[in-house]
Symmetry: C2
Subunit: 340 residues, 2 copies
DNA sequence: AATAACTATGTAAGCGGTTTCAATAAACCT
DNA sequence: AGGTTTATTGAAACCGCTTACATAGTTATT
């Protein structure tokens, strides 16, 4: 356990100065093996742990990274947080978590809070408020003036802001193309966010549809504004869409949760999956393997993304030059909700 | 944004001493309104934020709570973390997250790390290493010597350790009793952890079975040791159990994930749910409403638990006397996997 | 009007480390 | 052996803020 000794106590017991104790604490090379051992023995004997605040004051770092996400209870984000936390701690850092609940104001407040807590870096896990235009991201840029800011699945170009993204555009483009190739023409795009990655995904879908000459009107894109947990609501939403006479034989969802809503809708409407309604989800979350039929989904290699994010961040903190943006491609995992 | 001014800069610009600045910073009453305004103006003008380390050094607190959990990507734990983080921040605290990955050694290490980071309290979210016997929890008791330790869904009696638990025993007892009452006698208990709450749940099941004279041997309890995400593996596990000639017409699972495994097993084995196999899960997670048929599950009022946990912790930090243990009862949410 | 009792502010001593700089000891040359 | 260079160590300044104590300025009391 942690005792309440100070560096003075240790220096006294070890018969050296506090400077020397500090040196062995920080692994300075300029300490003789003999004294180093002597000091370490005392430290171990009394289970001394240096005071983090004092240390922070002197070093101006507490080896802590701020992690911000909209909702840590979202399956995908929760997973990201888990990977990030694990990898950070493996690197001797730990993480302060802030959940912003999809509110811009909270996001700004948290950002300032993290900065004032002197984190060494900030990771935005799927922030919902990254805009394409730089000037709209001022609050992030302000934070980046102080510490490196890492963006997971989002990207914009600003000093000291680094992005690790999955190629959502291309993944969606390919998924849509494949569904078209399987003979389906009326493909509804079902999404719930206009975030950075949301826009990219939508663009991928549109490109494929346009290319095939199938994008006739905005009818085939449906924004769902309810909670990401409200499967029933999603299903009802699709029922309404159907009620309006909009025809669709395929659903491509921006998220597995939404895809589940589509599955539920199919059940309610009595449609056979995938023969009468094909569905593709996104994120390849636990849900995809859980539902019935199992969901075809796009896997965007979350762990790889997180690993690179941490590697990049650690590099930056060590003063290395690091790539501003890294892109990984996704992969379509075929399961029971698609034909081909 | 946060500037790099010190209290000296502010005091100079405001024409007062640093003590006065510090007083307005900390809301001390002994400052005249005139000077207070003067100082605040300067602070706002320069967007000054006091250095957290220096402040921590002086106050010996950084308004931070350590949150430990085995796996933040687990649906249930993720949700708990979300609630906790939200409520903490609403109270002016924030949280350092540590995921221990179900490893005792990591759990101990994190506990020490949190203490050394001078957190004001520690919350164990469904720790897997709470033992019934006090002496086995020494490492937690050591931490409790320094700061209050809050246990969610676990409990043991030690100084400065507080518990908020759901009455798992009773919930399971009732669930089992109801299934028996619905005419099912061969009920398999499918579980994956021998944690504190795991034991309680199992005991509830046993009690109900014993009471009904149905507990003939240990055959009807099946410990699954695989990953909580490996639905396929769970299903196969149950296939093997069936293969051994162990008969079961009902499954009560210690967790919704396991229940999903049971659903998958039923599908594979060609059993109709709930007529040929009834299933009850635990936690009433998102999954329960997602799967097909929808899962009957026990809701243990997670948000209520978290709310009370935070309230209790805040009370403690304000020096109030607080209850050592609070118990809430759960509720069975009936859906499509049970008869009655 | 003189004394007591506050109120508002400043001075300076910590809080527990890190680090610069100077001093001492040990090692290396010629 | 004497002069250098280098490896160790310690003294003390400093990081930025809190707070006990002292002081000066006000208001209340008799």
């Amino acid at each position: 356990m942690t005792t309440n000794m100070t560096i003075y106590d240790i220096s006294e017991k070890a018969g050296v100065s506090i400077a020397t104790v500090s040196r062995v604490l920080n692994g300075s090379s300029n300490v003789s093996d003999k004294t180093k051992k002597k000091v370490l023995d005392v430290i171990n004997q009394y289970e001394y742990t240096p005071n983090a605040f004092a240390r922070g004051l002197g070093l101006n770092t507490m080896k802590t990274i701020g992690v911000m996400c909209a909702d840590s209870s979202d399956l995908y984000l929760a997973k990201a947080i888990y990977f990030i936390e694990q990898k950070l701690r493996a690197n001797g850092y730990d993480s302060i978590l802030c959940c912003t609940g999809y509110e811009l104001e909270t996001e700004e407040k948290c950002l300032n809070l993290l900065i004032s807590k002197k984190v060494d870096g900030i990771i935005l896990v799927g922030s919902h408020f990254i805009y394409e235009s730089e000037s709209d991201n001022r609050y992030i840029m302000d934070a980046a003036l102080q510490v490196p800011v890492m963006l997971l699945n989002a990207s914009f170009d600003a000093p000291n802001v680094y992005s690790i993204v999955s190629d959502d555009y291309n993944s969606m483009y390919e998924a849509t193309k494949q569904m078209i190739a399987s003979g389906i023409q009326d493909i509804l795009y079902f999404y719930n966010s206009t975030s950075y990655s949301g826009k990219r995904k939508l663009a991928g879908y549109r490109a494929a549809m346009e290319e095939a000459g199938l994008l006739r009107s905005g009818n085939l894109m449906q924004l769902y504004t309810g909670s990401h947990e409200d499967i029933q609501g999603m299903s009802e939403h699709l029922m309404k869409v159907q009620g309006k006479g909009i025809l669709f034989r395929g659903v491509i969802a921006s998220d597995d949760n939404l895809a589940l809503g589509a599955i539920k809708y199919a059940r309610t409407a009595g449609l056979r999956i995938p023969q009468e309604l094909a569905i593709i989800g996104y994120n390849n979350s636990l849900l995809a393997a859980c539902c019935n039929p199992e969901l075809t989904s796009i896997d965007n290699k979350l762990e790889t993304l997180c690993q690179h994010l941490i590697t990049t961040l650690m590099g930056l903190l060590n003063g290395s030059e690091m790539p501003k943006k890294t892109v990984f491609s996704g992969e379509i995992i075929h399961r029971g909700t698609t034909l081909s």
